[in-house]
Symmetry: C2
Subunit: 472 residues, 2 copies
């Protein structure tokens, strides 16, 4: 695979819904790596942002916000059998769009299961129903009816998405390095058995974004390296995590859902207010935000082992996210305003002067302690690889590209989650764009350096308990 | 008072111990406003920082760290009867220095009661003994013996210091605006009675520093607008607050000291890990860090009303500090490293491009709800007023200047705290350097916009309970 490999030829129509940082970033990749011409593509989006970029690439740009009322009418002339809808929007229901695609026979991909506008913070919904768990259960409830129908790839960005493939590669690496069988499991049961056998108790999606700009954040401005609406939306959803079978201390503010797979729990507070201890090889120990993401649930669910109805093994899985420094500051300000979004937003792009996005999965509790596997992508490298991207967006956009290619290669799979996709094919397509793809062991645990100044409520017997990770 | 008023003439020797941001910032003010020549002054400090600035002003600079072992020997030839020690150091015991001054007959001032190196984080000391409460009690234990001796002004910077004078002016303003008696109280009992009569339940020292630079913070760097050693030291001390008589919910992690005045409590956690809701007129609501400071204790103590041994009135008093954005980020990183200081530090000075330090006192619970009174000083104005300062340091340095002048005018008062000093004289001296000195009422309470997304554990009956301010 090189930077000019054409992975597949596509002769249908492609509609890209939403054209923010990810839409703009993925378009050059699609044109570069898929046999497609620019006149096959139409962008439908809710604002003028990206119009100049679309014009520069010669792709049709329609500024027309999709709503509950108009989406079918707008999309109907644009999509039919074998066409492709790439959903990179916010505030447009994923379920509505993939149902539409199923009806007309089009393929579909998104990077998160998005509700209609306001769904993340609708006070008339219970916290349980504002969760990604509920959104995922709703989406998956269509699975049986869609079986064998046009492929609809759910939640295939960096995370959720790419990290599910990282987990599989990481499990194989840990197996090899600890002398366990290294045969590649063939199905869900096999992967779950491998994770259980290795003793992986906790998986963090551990990310440290060090990108900085020399344009200081203003008071009343939310600054981030990717979609601010997207980040604030998920940051205001309940904290959610896959809840492992080894956990002994159910959080006082934790709740179980009263429906669905039961692989995850939620806390009665926004994810952007919940901090956890985690670790990456370049940064060492740090505090991340426990932002809800679909992968926390899908991975926990996928690796669950059962004896009848009894869960015998499940890892605790969650995102532990240190966004760029300006976003940390923006979250602090947002919390101070009781989660009312700042009046202005800035997506950091050209003004970034340095930094790396270190994004990977951290497998903990196995024989060698902890193992991080993931991508280290610097801003300069990201810029050199493809236009309209930074280090953060490129990790997402290349996963969208890979998901599109896989869907085109597997067009009749119905609804699929990342964990159900061929991880080797995805990594093969994504690899040229991930910078340094590395694995690293460490001896860190969340008990390291604790209680130096004050006694703390921790479980000394098992370092891998969630209560030890959580920052109180 | 103008920018060239000579407030007093001083013919003795002056030793400045410590020459960081405050030392460098106050020296031009001393030379401008006190009748003193540069050859009367000697700087004794622990590093080369500031050497060029001292040379430029023609003041003798000695790089010689003071220690428990050498301080008396070093200072003995430099200080005698009627001389002045200005202690602006870190890691040098305030008690050791003012005892020395008392012995030789010299005047003394500092901006906080500092222990010898490591005292803030010495794990062999209990949290109670690492507190500012303990440091204050130790310092005040010398008061009786020093009565009528050379004046030793304790903790007279911006805060602690200036804010005690702001509280008095604010009380008079609220009294006038709510139709209460506006006679200026003559003593401690009178001030306490006024605060009680007005119904002031809570006083925050509410500060929002918006200064920013265009040089982004590096990973592993602590950036601040004033002493980083000072901020990290106090940030790692226990959270401390004056504990008001209206409080109904003693914090689960709260502790009372087993000695002393009992006006304050501490929490079993670092102040830099404790966030509280607060408000300033320009910023509106925000989250500040509840960093321990001597004023939280001295103000609560000073305004306490008793009936025999029974406390009938005491306000809850604490600092609620939003440092500059880069310091917020630095604190997040410091917490992630379990309070081990970053390997590099940067005091933001010339690279500041904009911002204001909005520092004042927020009086809450009276008839008009909330009233903030304080200083709004912009970086450009601070730079125009005096060299070697930014908006944050100037609010401190002018208070040091005013404290020195007051001590020279009142040379035989023994040990005094800010609350015991003539607030009108101090404000008169400081005013030309405080930017806009303003008072503003507001209708904010810590219950505003709460429980929008999730239920919270709050006291709806009394908005002014500490549990409502604290960010859980």
């Amino acid at each position: 695979m090189t930077l000019d490999t054409k992975h597949i030829t596509f002769t249908g129509r492609m509609v890209i819904v939403g054209f923010g940082s990810i839409g703009q970033g993925v378009l050059p990749l699609i044109l570069r790596h898929i046999g497609i011409t620019k006149d096959q593509i139409t962008i439908v989006t809710a604002e003028e942002r990206g119009h100049a970029e679309a014009d520069e690439l010669g792709v049709k740009f329609i500024n027309l916000p999709l709503t509950r009322e108009n989406y079918a009418q707008v999309l109907e002339p644009m999509l039919g059998k074998g066409d492709f809808l790439v959903n990179l929007s916010v505030d447009v229901s994923s379920v509505a769009l993939f149902e539409f695609c199923h009806k007309v026979g089009a393929l579909y991909i998104d990077t998160c299961v998005e509700p209609w506008a306001g769904g993340y913070t609708d006070p008339s919904l219970s916290p349980s129903l504002r969760s990604n768990y509920a959104l995922r259960e709703t989406a998956l409830s269509h699975r049986a009816a869609f079986e064998g129908g046009p492929t609809a790839v759910l939640t295939h960005g960096a995370n959720p998405g790419l990290v599910s493939h990282f987990v599989k590669q990481a499990l194989l690496n840990v197996a090899a390095d600890t002398g366990e069988s290294t045969e590649v499991p063939k199905d869900r049961a096999g992967w779950g058995a491998l994770a259980a056998k290795l003793g992986v108790k906790v998986i963090h999606i551990a990310e440290r974004d060090t990108q900085v700009s020399n344009e200081p954040k203003k008071v009343g401005e939310f600054v981030n390296t990717w979609s601010i609406d997207g980040f604030v939306g998920e940051g205001c959803q309940p904290t959610e995590l896959g809840w492992g079978s080894h956990e002994k201390h159910f959080p006082a503010d934790g709740r179980r859902h009263e429906f669905g797979c039961d692989a995850a729990i939620y806390l009665m507070r926004p994810g952007a207010s919940t901090r956890v201890r985690t670790w990456t090889p370049l940064e060492g120990p740090f505090h991340g935000f426990l932002i809800t993401h679909s992968e926390a649930i899908s991975i926990a669910d996928y690796y669950t082992q059962r004896d009848g109805n009894h869960v015998t093994y499940r890892p605790t899985v969650h995102y532990a996210y240190h966004p760029c420094d300006d976003a940390v500051k923006s979250v602090h300000e947002l919390a101070g305003k009781n989660w009312y979004m700042q009046p202005s937003q800035r997506l950091m792009m050209h003004e970034i002067v340095s930094g790396t996005d270190e994004l990977g999965v951290l497998l903990m509790g196995h024989k060698k302690g902890i193992y991080w596997f993931g991508s280290r992508l610097g801003i300069d490298e990201a810029r050199a690889l493809v236009p309209y991207n930074n280090a953060t967006s490129l990790q997402v956009t290349v996963a969208v590209l890979a998901g599109i290619v896989w869907a085109l290669e597997n067009p009749n799979r119905g609804i699929v989650e990342p964990d159900e996709i061929d991880f080797q094919r995805i990594l093969e397509i994504a690899k040229p764009y991930l910078g340094e793809l590395v694995g690293a062991y460490g001896d860190w645990t969340p008990l390291q350096d604790r209680e130096r100044l004050f006694p703390e409520d921790i479980d000394h017997d098992d370092p891998w308990q969630f209560k030890n990770f959580r920052v109180a």
